[in-house]
Amino acid sequence: MSVIAFYILTVLCIFSALMVVFSKKPVHSVLYTIFCFFNIAGHFLLLNAQFLAIVHIIVYAGAIMVLFLFTIMFLNLNAEVEPHKSNLLKVAAVVCGGLLLLILVSCLKGAENIPVNPMLDTQMGMVKNLGMVLYNEYMLPFEMLSILFLSAMVGAVLLGKKETK
């Protein structure tokens, strides 16, 4: 059953990702992105990373994409506003993307031979487990992340502020 779920999620995921790129309206792109993220969260659930799945939804769907939607609404961007790229560039983009895919896939060939750990630790993705690792081994990166956030926040506020003379 989970294999079927995997393929359904995968197909939806790729479809929505493609739609992100090819949608005419930015708002549709945003919605497809959200949909894609839900599918990715579903993948996380399949991989037994429940906490990460929920956090993924909260962070991406609940916060980041809202910001995108917000910005688009504020700027009132529609399909008509966006100028078209020349067809040559579009073809080049598709070719480039395809090439990259080709290269990536061919480079990753042989990964199936990596031995899979047969014992699935169902507790690994749990909050408690992750918290232990995060706050013990990755304490310093975590603290630095907080500094990153602070600076990002200050930067965003500073940029968004109207200049007052």
């Binding site: 429940q50 929920i54 609940g62």
Partner: protein, 346 residues
């Protein structure tokens, strides 16, 4: 998974869904009655005895009305908006523990659709998705009033989500679990969380008001200012969905407040009652619903008592008052927890 288990789950899902819809339906009736009571008048009393069939009449009216989709609107999204609102409203119910275990045929079944170990986060995630229903609906209407209403609504919800999240974090720090069931079971007897987290409880209730767009935070749909807010262009059952979603949200919020801070299906002197387990479970469930109904009443009570905030006051309250207080709450809770665990060294 046995078939019987599945059937039980199915029954539970159907029950929860039905109960939610019924309660939401009758909340509209109750709202009018409470308003009438508080304003010293009669309220609806024509449809059936005491007007008890009024929600059905309203529903019929909604269905009968003409479907209007604005010509410049984005049709798909215009329909999607209320659907998302309705869906997210209903989804939260799955993680709420409606009661203790029922023992059937020597096997215990929990009165909860699913007990995921990050239940509280799930609820939070669903709430945060609820924003999309409003935003998409408002934007898709292609109407400036709708857009303004949608932007107001979503920024309000985002703003209050922060304080809400922090109050939940403080709660989690005292309970040590993200599972709603664990949280409820820890409150057995009279160890209700609002005794340990009074400030968090207050913050959570205030934020719940804002999240459900209820007065005094009902800016998004305030009738006079924005011509109906984000659902200006909606009519018939799509409007009904939005209104319905609001009442379901209210019901779910009341349930979560009861579960998180007021003991859920626990009640004092539980262990004093000498009755079969299943009976006690059912009594607990009844008590849980009593709490929920009290909070629904509380919501209405507040609505018809307090005046509405101005938008800047609302934002000011969210960012300058609730957010700092909730952060302070987290800090104090953390310090006290460390101190109680003996890990705090001066």
């Amino acid at each position: 998974m046995e078939l019987f288990d599945l059937l039980i789950k199915l029954a539970l899902v159907v029950a929860v869904f039905t109960i939610a819809l019924v309660i939401a339906m009758y909340s509209t009736y109750a709202e009018r009655k409470v308003a009438a009571f508080l304003q010293d008048r009669l309220g609806p009393n024509r449809a059936g005895p005491y007007g008890i069939l009024q929600p059905l009449a309203d529903g019929g009216k909604m269905f009968m009305k003409e479907e209007i989709i604005p010509s410049k609107a984005d049709t798909f999204l215009f329909i999607l908006g209320p659907c998302i609102a309705m869906m997210t409203a209903c989804m939260t119910g799955v993680v709420i523990p409606w009661g203790n275990t029922l023992i059937i045929d020597g096997k215990a079944y929990i009165m909860q659709v699913t007990d995921i170990n990050v239940g509280i986060l799930f609820a939070f995630a669903v709430v945060s998705i609820g924003v999309y229903g409003i935003m998409i609906g408002g934007w898709a209407s292609n109407n400036k009033y709708s857009l303004l209403g949608a932007i107001r609504a979503s920024s309000q919800m985002i703003s209050y989500e922060l304080a809400m999240g922090f109050s939940i974090i403080a709660l989690i720090m005292t309970t040590g679990s993200l599972s709603l069931r664990d949280i409820v079971e820890q409150q057995s007897g009279f160890h209700w969380n609002f005794l340990y987290q009074p400030l968090g409880c207050l913050l959570f209730i205030i934020c719940a008001f804002a999240e459900t767009n209820r007065a005094p935070f009902d800016l998004p749909e305030c009738e006079t200012e924005l011509v109906g807010g984000y659902h200006t262009e909606y009519s018939s059952m799509k409007l009904g969905f939005y209104l319905f979603a609001e009442y379901i949200n209210m019901f779910i919020s009341a349930a979560i407040i009861s579960a998180l801070f007021f003991g859920g299906y626990n009640f004092p002197f539980l262990d004093k009652i000498d009755a079969p387990h299943n009976v006690i479970t059912l009594i607990g469930t009844a008590i849980f619903f009593a709490k929920i109904i009290f909070f629904i009443f509380f919501f209405m009570w507040v609505r018809w008592t307090l005046p509405r905030f101005r938008y800047d006051q609302l934002m000011h309250l969210g960012w300058y008052v609730l957010l700092p207080i909730s952060i302070l709450n987290v800090l104090v809770t953390g310090a006290v927890t460390l101190f109680r665990n003996g890990q705090f060294h001066f």
